[in-house]
Each structure stands twice: as structure tokens, then as C-alpha cells.
């Protein structure tokens, strides 16, 4: 219903934050109801129907009523202090990274997310874009870098925001309790397509994650059909300056790595379903789909687009 709602969560971080959030929310609602009630009650019971001109002032001791202020304060300070201590306790708990995490290097760019995985044993590495797979039940340490302006990494169901700031590497950790596709979103205004800078964190059961990792580690397979081969040549000449496909000469790093493009469910930073129609539409008319995006409209003739798409569809 609300993929970005954070009144419930599925992560180790949200497990301690959500109860605090609910506590503060309920206290807040109670305070609003009580204060509104007091104001309404006071106005309705004490109001005078007489026009203001004919009223007389009530002679009263100046200090009368001050005690109500102190009583109100004394009551208010209890939830305030509880919140302070609870906050500090949650901070302490979420502040330390659990042992033996999986480390992923995230780079935020206008307006998409690059994730780099490294295999600690073989030293192999690969990059994916906008769909970040993690194993369920294992803490994941994220190193956050920015290639340009400030962004903020936010997967509401798993953890709160951490800003991604050029010139510094921020770290955060998260851990998913249950398998699922958790939507993420850039949380800091970053320009024209901030609104569409979405991504997914996909929590897989451990074996499935390991299989995914193995698959992603492979270079792209050589296309078999003549059409796709023609598409590869076109890709290298036309797209390779910005995009990479491992195993081909295309090694640009300005746009997303496309080595296993077809293993992703979405393209354009979570905006479009990854299917042939939207792929063609995006390649031809990125500016119509995402005005201001850094992917230019490609003036590609019909046959070229057909072979290009045939090639892209081999990137499984």
C-alpha cells in the first residue's frame, strides 16, 4: 500500500526505531488532543455573551493561576525526558555496526545509484545499478559516496536516511529480517530528477543471494544471433562511452553498468518496468520520460534500434 511508509519496518534498524516512533507519535497525538480539549473547554465554558464594550474587567491577583503553568510543565517534562533517554538508548544500539557485515560501496549520481560488490576471497568485483541485492539476516555495511551533489540514501522499511555528501565517505548499516523488494528513494533535494531517484534493496535468502552474486560476477556472454552481434557493434560505438558491459570494450562509468541489465526488474532508477517497450522508449526518448536526466535522447533509426534492443536483451 505504502512502499515507503516507515510506521512499520522489516529490518534490524527499524526494529528499534519503530517503537520509539510510535511512542512519540502517540504522546504527540495525546498532547494535541488534551491541549485542544483544554482550549475548547475553557472557551466554551468561560465565554461571555456580552459585547466587549460593556464588559468589566475582573480584578484578580496577578500571581493567580501561575501554578497551572508549573503543573503543566511538570507533567510535560516526563514524556520529554523519557524520549531523551529512549532516543539516546536507540542511538547507542544502532550506532555500532554488527560484526561480520557484507560491505557494499554505493555511489550516488544524478539521478541513479551505483553499487559495487567485492568478493573478499577472489578479489573479483562487479557493479549493479539501482537494484541492490542483500542476503536476509546478515548485516550489510554501506559506504556511501557521491559523484556530484548531496543525495541521501533511504530505504524506509529497513533504515533511516544517511546523507551522501561529496568529499566524505559516510557509512551506514542495515539488515533485512525478511525477503522482499524494499523501495528506496533519494532523500535530499539534488536537482531536476530528484523525484525519480528511486532504487530497490532486494533481500534474498542466503543461497539465492550467493547464486545471484555468482551470476553477476560473470562477464556478459558473447551474443549468438547475427542481429545481436550487430547490436553489440552498435552499442560499443554508440553507448560505450557512458556505459560499461564487462567482456566488451564498453567501459564508460558515467551511466549505469549494463553487464546484466536484463536481470533487473526496473530501469531508469526504479521508474520503468524493464521490458522491451520501455527499454526502447527510454533509449529513444529519455528526456520525455525524465526531463533533465543526463541520458540524452538517442536519434536512432528503426533498424539500429532493433539490433540494439536485440543485443541488450542478451545481457542476462
Amino acid at each position: 500500500m505504502h512502499p515507503l511508509g516507515y510506521l512499520s519496518g522489516s529490518g534490524a534498524q527499524t526494529a528499534s526505531v519503530v517503537p520509539l516512533m510510535w511512542f512519540m507519535l502517540i504522546v504527540s497525538i495525546l498532547v494535541c488532543v488534551i491541549i485542544t480539549g483544554l482550549v475548547l473547554w475553557a472557551v466554551l465554558t468561560k465565554r461571555t455573551a456580552v459585547g466587549h464594550r460593556s464588559l468589566r474587567k475582573i480584578a484578580l491577583e496577578h500571581s493567580e493561576g501561575v501554578n497551572w503553568i508549573w503543573i503543566g510543565l511538570a507533567i510535560s517534562i516526563v514524556p520529554l525526558l523519557v524520549s531523551v533517554f529512549w532516543t539516546v538508548a536507540v542511538l547507542a544500539k544502532t550506532g555500532t555496526v554488527p560484526p561480520a557485515p557484507l560491505t557494499i560501496d554505493i555511489t550516488a549520481k544524478r539521478w541513479w545509484w551505483d553499487a559495487q560488490y567485492r568478493d573478499g576471497v577472489t578479489g573479483g568485483e562487479f557493479r549493479v545499478a539501482n537494484e541492490i541485492h542483500i542476503p536476509v539476516g546478515r548485516p550489510v555495511l554501506l559506504h556511501l559516496r557521491s559523484a556530484d551533489v548531496i543525495h541521501s540514501f533511504w530505504v524506509p522499511k529497513l533504515a533511516g536516511k544517511t546523507d551522501v555528501i561529496p568529499g566524505q565517505v559516510n557509512a551506514m548499516w542495515l539488515e533485512a529480517d525478511a525477503p522482499g523488494r524494499y523501495r528506496g528513494q533519494c532523500g535530499e533535494f539534488c536537482g531536476a530528477q530528484h523525484a525519480h531517484m528511486a532504487f530497490f534493496v532486494i533481500a534474498d535468502p542466503p543461497q539465492q543471494f550467493a547464486a545471484w552474486e555468482r551470476q553477476q560476477m560473470l562477464p556478459a556472454s558473447t551474443p549468438a544471433s547475427a542481429e545481436a552481434t550487430a547490436g553489440l557493434a552498435f552499442f560499443n560505438q554508440r553507448c560505450g562511452r557512458c556505459h560499461s558491459v564487462r567482456g566488451t570494450p564498453a567501459h564508460g562509468s558515467f551511466g549505469p553498468d549494463l553487464t546484466h541489465l536484463m536481470s533487473r526488474e526496473t530501469i531508469a532508477a526504479g521508474m520503468l518496468q524493464n521490458n522491451p517497450a520501455s527499454l526502447s522508449g527510454w533509449v529513444e526518448n529519455a528526456q520525455t520520460v525524465k526531463p533533465g536526466a543526463l541520458m540524452p535522447n538517442q536519434q536512432i533509426s528503426g533498424p539500429d534500434l532493433t539490433v540494439l534492443r536485440a543485443y541488450l536483451e542478451t545481457l542476462r
Binding site: T36, A42, H52, I69, T87, I150, K161, F189, G292
Partner: protein, 662 residues
């Protein structure tokens, strides 16, 4: 209280060579001849020149109020366009670039060109009247402050009209605001405009502070100040400390953009976070600067309609100051997600939660005042009392965002949008609308229409809550702020539609309010001096007040000068009938800082066009800087220099050639 002994005034400066101000001022009563004499001395010359040259604080205050309301309307229209775009998902009414400029311009307009100037307007108008004084301490500086505000507003909106309005949000984070990512003139207009506007805020603040310390009627010791004085004075002290931080930040940014300095640029070793610290060191205290005077309006207005003094004057006055002091130590709560160390986050989090304590004092004081009074339900009362509820809603959402782990989710979502609008509308716009109903009769001599006033209140109140209360939920459901649209499957369509409907209802409420203001100016019932039977000094003079405010300087013996008999104040009585006459020219009385003992006679400056010319010169200078054109900037600088020479040219009539003395 009997008028203070005249000898004490003269005695302070015995031996001075200038008999005119060292004289013993006459004490007397207000007579028609005296009033006529003072009218001749103080009135502004008719005609265009007089209109441009006036230094009358009342005229300047009204101009501030009118200009700020115009900005409110412009900012409101911008908001409505955004609400149409957001009414349902995936709309394309606005391009992302248009939306980004709109939301940024809306924020800048409301926060810098409406909220603060509107309060300056009311304070400018009211301060000397509340003080029993004839003008602000520095009338020419006062005029300068307004003209610069107007010029800076025109400067920034010139950018908007050529399509180069601010487009990186009102807090303008680098590096997005750097030339590399935002190469238009947008941020240059904004940066220079903010530095320009900062001059207005600073000179205005200095003027309020000196006025506070020197211009009160005899006997108005600091424990007799209306709360709005506490609010504006506290805000003014803060402004003097914080505006330099933001002016500096914008100046450094401008240098980065135009002269390739590296203050905030990562490749050259600059720090994006430096911007955030400089901005929020200003930004958070600023939030209090734009609500404390408005809280003062409520604290002074509510008792009039509750027919009793404010409950807990001293706690409320001290809470005003305490809020500001704490307010200097909470700026990092805008930066919880930037990766700062946990220990510092914990400190700032605790401070941000506990700042609720002084705010709670005001809330409980207001409730007790209604509870222990006999509230008369007028439109003004409705606006003032609804402030309590809106303030609490804005307060508790602030309390939630003050908790670091909660804030990591809440920040930069619509929850924060809801929070800041409850704060800014709840504790600025609603009190200001109440204050307009309350002081309109004093300013114009006519009453605002009560029936229309109630209609406008209920429309505004319901519209505001329909628009913004659901936004808390929109935020909790994860809608990020500053997005020009949102996907269908986020489940955010219906709730956004509700907010859009509410925003239009709110706009209708404002429309009714402005219709009421405009109609009542000419058609309202004639008010008389004190239509609400209120208790402070401004209600003792005529409505509208004469140019000299008070024919004789009142002497103050309590906090409720006009209620002393009814309240049965035990001791002395204020004396509003008899006091210093001060009619040997444009004269005002200076008193001592704490006890307000008479100290000396001040000669006040005549009307002059120099402040206007100085502001115009600065406008030329800043325009030259904007387009980096040395001749234009040079001409502007020369105009400013010539103006300053003319301004500071010693004048015998202002005793500026007298011998140095203490």
C-alpha cells in the same frame, strides 16, 4: 505616579554648553494649542517628496506590513500552483525545473520576505506607541531598513521574472548551488539578494535594540514591557548575531561561483558541510526570531479579550529569552543525517527535545489566561486562541523530529513540510491575522468587520488544517519533500488531493481576510481611541495616532496602564494626562536602560530622502555585482558613498556638532 522631577533630567547634564537640550523640560497637560504645535513640527509634508522622505515609524510600519502581505499573496499563489501539480500522481503541469524554482521561490518568499518583515512592520508601528515614545531611536535608519527590504525583494523577484529565481530550496545546499551544477544566474540573484536583505535585517535589529534601551516612557522598567517587546527585542539581539553568519555564507558561495574560490568546493579542499553549519547556525535561531514576536502578539492580545492580565507574565517573558538561548544550540538537528558523530548528535537531540519546555510555558500561560478569564469571542480572539492549538501541533511534530533515530526517517519527508507549516502559519500567520484585527482600529481608526472576520477565520482555520494535517501522514507514508511528482503506486494520490483541496480553502480564507481589510479601511465602523478596552499605552492616544504619537510623554507605574483602576493596583497610578511636553522642535525623551528614568532630550531628524537614495544606490551596486559589470557597480558604490556623506554630514540641529560628552 507623579511626573518625574524635571530637575533630574536637567541635572544629569549640568554644565553642558547647549541650553536647548540641557533645559528643564516643561511639564504640562495636552492642550489643543500644544497638539497643533506638535502637529506642525512632526507632520510629513504632503506630496510625493514627503511620501518618499518620511521617517515616521507608523508610516514605515504600515509600508512593511503592506509589502509583506503582498509577498504573502505572491508566495501563496506559488503554493497553489504547486498544489495543483501535486494533486494527483504523475502530473505534467510543471516541468521539474519549473517546480524546483517554484518551491524554492515559495520558501524564500515566505521565510525571508514575509514572516520576518511582517513582524518588523507591526513592531515598527507599535513599539514607540507601546513605549509612550515619539519615534524609534533612529528614524532615518528605520526608513533605510524598509527601503532596503523593498529593494532586496525587487532584486530577488527580478530574478524570478527573468526565469532565474532560486532553485535549490531556501537552504540552498552546496554543491548543487555551485556554478558547475547550477550555472544560471538563479543562485547569484539569491545569494546577493540575501546579503542585501541582511543589511535591512541588521540595521532594523540595531534600531529595535537601541529603542528598547533608550526610548521608553519614564517608569517603564523592564518588568513592565509588553511581551511583544520581549519577543521583538529577543529576536533583534539574535538577528544581530546570526545574520552575519548567513550573509558570510552567501558571500563565500558567490565568490565560489564567480571567482573560483574553494570555500565549499570539494576538489579544492572545501567542505559542503561548512555551508550547512553556517546556514543553520543562522537558520534555526531565525525560526525563533520569526515566531517570538508573534507569540508576543498572542500574549498581549489574549488578555484583552479574556478581560484579565496574562497569567504568568514573568515566566512567559523569561521563557521568550530562554527559547532563544536554547535556540542557538539546536542547529545541528537539521543535519542529523549528515554523518556527524553520535555523541554530538545526542547533545543536539536532547537540547532540541528540551526546548519544548520554554514553549510549554507560553502555552500553559495562554490556556490559564483563557481559563481564568472571561473570554469574549471576537475574530481576533479566534485567531489568537487557535494559535495555541496550531502551535502545539507544530511543537509536537518538532519534538518528534528532535529525536535522532526518528528524524532519520522523518527528515526531508512531508512530515517536515507539515511541521514547518504548522510552525510558520500557526505561530506567525495566525497571530498576525489576529494582530491585524486587533490593531487595525488603532492603525486606521476603523473597525474590521466582525462577521466577515469570523468567516475568514473559520475558512482559514479549516482550510489550513485540511491542507496540512494530512501531510503528517503523507510524510509517515514516505513521500519525500521537494519532489515535482510521485509514482502512482506509492498510494499517495488521494491524500495529496485532500491537501490540495484544503489549500484552496485556505486561499479563500486569506481572500476574505484581505477583502475585510480593504473594505474596512474606508467603510468600517469608527473605532475611537480604545475600542477593545485594552490596557497598553497605544490605546491611550487617538486612532489613528497623530504624527507625534503622544502630546505629553506619559509616566508609567504598572504593566496595565489603562486597567489600573479596574484591577485595583495597590500603589501608584500611571500618569497619561500630564508629563513632559517637549515641543521645542522634533524632540523625544531618552530614558535609562533598566529603570527608564528620564535622562536627556533627543533631537529627532527631519524627513529625508537620503535613506531611499542609499537603498537605490545599493540596488545599483548589487545589480552591478550580479552581472559582474564594474562600471555599474562603481556607479552604485559612488551613489552609496555620496549618500553616506550626506547622511553623516554633521547637523547643528541634531546637536551633531556639540562637544563630546558622556
Amino acid at each position: 505616579m507623579s511626573p518625574p522631577s524635571a530637575a533630574s533630567v536637567a541635572g544629569t547634564h549640568a554644565g553642558d554648553a547647549r541650553p536647548d537640550v540641557r533645559r528643564t523640560p516643561e511639564i504640562g497637560r495636552s492642550t489643543p494649542e500644544l497638539r497643533e504645535r506638535l502637529q506642525r513640527i512632526w507632520e510629513t509634508k504632503p506630496g510625493l517628496y514627503g511620501w518618499l522622505a518620511t521617517v515616521d515609524h507608523k508610516e514605515i510600519g504600515i509600508r512593511y506590513i503592506v509589502t509583506a502581505f503582498v509577498m504573502l499573496v505572491i508566495g501563496g499563489i506559488e503554493a497553489l500552483i504547486m498544489r495543483v501539480q501535486l494533486a494527483s500522481p504523475e502530473q505534467t503541469l510543471l516541468s521539474p525545473q519549473q517546480y524546483n524554482m517554484l518551491f524554492s521561490t515559495h520558501g524564500v518568499t515566505m521565510i525571508f520576505l514575509y514572516t520576518s518583515p511582517i513582524l518588523s512592520g507591526f513592531s515598527n508601528y507599535l513599539w514607540p506607541l507601546l513605549f509612550g515614545s515619539r519615534d524609534m531611536a533612529f528614524p532615518r535608519l528605520n526608513a533605510l531598513s524598509y527601503w532596503i527590504y523593498l529593494a532586496a525583494g525587487i532584486f530577488m523577484y527580478a530574478g524570478v521574472f527573468v526565469g532565474a529565481g532560486p532553485n535549490d530550496g531556501w537552504f540552498n545546499y552546496v554543491p548543487y548551488a555551485q556554478f558547475r551544477y547550477d550555472p544560471g544566474l538563479n543562485i547569484d540573484f539569491y545569494s546577493l539578494g540575501m546579503i542585501f536583505l541582511g543589511v535591512s535585517t541588521s540595521v532594523g535589529a540595531a534600531n529595535f535594540i537601541v529603542t528598547l534601551l533608550r526610548m521608553r516612557a519614564p517608569g517603564m522598567s523592564i518588568n513592565r514591557l509588553p511581551i511583544i517587546i520581549w519577543g521583538t527585542a529577543t529576536a533583534s539581539f539574535a538577528n544581530l548575531l546570526i545574520v552575519p553568519a548567513v550573509s558570510l555564507a552567501f558571500f563565500l558561495l558567490w565568490l565560489d561561483r564567480q571567482f573560483h574560490t574553494q570555500f565549499f568546493q570539494v576538489p579544492g579542499g572545501g567542505q559542503p558541510l561548512l555551508w550547512q553549519h553556517l546556514f543553520w547556525m543562522f537558520g534555526h535561531p531565525w525560526v525563533y526570531a520569526i515566531v517570538l514576536p508573534a507569540m508576543g502578539m498572542v500574549s498581549d492580545g489574549l488578555p484583552v479579550f479574556c478581560r484579565r492580565p496574562l497569567v504568568g507574565y514573568a515566566p512567559v517573558a523569561l521563557a521568550t529569552v530562554a527559547t532563544m538561548l536554547l535556540g542557538f544550540g539546536v542547529w545541528v538537528h537539521h543535519m542529523f543525517a549528515t554523518g556527524l558523530p553520535g555523541l554530538s548528535l545526542a547533545f543536539f537531540s536532547a537540547a532540541s527535545i528540551l526546548i519544548a519546555v520554554p514553549s510549554a510555558i507560553s502555552v500553559f500561560s495562554w490556556i490559564a489566561t483563557i481559563w481564568l478569564g472571561r473570554p469574549v469571542i471576537t475574530a481576533a480572539f479566534l485567531f489568537f486562541s487557535s494559535t495555541i492549538v496550531l502551535f502545539v501541533i507544530g511543537g509536537v511534530s518538532g519534538f518528534m523530529t528532535a529525536s535522532v533515530p526518528a528524524d532519520w526517517e522523518l527528515t526531508d519527508t512531508y512530515f517536515v513540510v507539515a511541521h514547518l507549516h504548522y510552525v510558520l502559519l500557526g505561530i506567525n500567520v495566525f497571530p498576525v491575522m489576529g494582530a491585524t484585527h486587533f490593531w487595525f482600529p488603532k492603525i486606521t481608526g476603523r473597525m474590521m468587520d466582525e462577521r466577515l472576520g469570523r468567516w475568514s477565520f473559520w475558512t482559514t482555520f479549516i482550510g489550513f488544517n485540511v491542507a496540512f494535517l494530512p501531510m503528517h501522514l503523507t510524510g509517515l507514508w514516505g513521500m519525500p519533500r521537494r519532489v515535482y511528482t510521485y509514482p502512482v503506486d506509492m498510494g499517495l494520490g488521494p491524500i495529496n488531493m485532500v491537501s490540495t483541496v484544503g489549500s484552496f480553502l485556505l486561499a479563500i480564507g486569506f481572500l476574505l481576510f484581505f477583502i475585510n481589510v480593504i473594505r474596512s479601511r474606508t467603510r468600517g465602523a469608527v473605532a475611537g481611541d480604545n475600542p477593545w478596552d485594552a490596557y497598553t499605552l497605544e490605546w491611550s492616544t487617538s486612532s489613528p495616532p497623530p504624527p507625534y504619537n503622544f502630546a505629553v510623554i506619559p509616566t508609567v507605574a504598572s504593566r496595565h496602564m489603562l486597567w489600573e483602576d479596574q484591577l485595583g493596583e495597590p500603589d501608584e497610578r500611571s500618569n497619561l494626562e500630564e508629563g513632559f511636553i517637549l515641543d521645542h522642535g522634533k524632540e523625544a525623551l531618552a530614558t535609562t536602560a533598566l529603570d527608564a528614568e528620564p535622562q536627556r532630550i533627543l533631537h529627532m531628524p527631519e524627513d529625508t530622502i537620503i535613506p531611499l537614495l542609499l537603498a537605490a544606490g545599493m540596488l545599483v551596486l548589487f545589480s552591478g555585482m550580479l552581472v559582474r559589470n564594474l562600471p555599474i557597480a562603481g556607479v552604485g558604490a559612488l551613489i552609496c558613498a555620496a549618500d553616506l556623506i550626506a547622511w553623516f554630514w554633521p547637523r547643528a540641529s541634531l546637536l551633531e556638532r556639540g562637544p563630546a560628552h558622556g
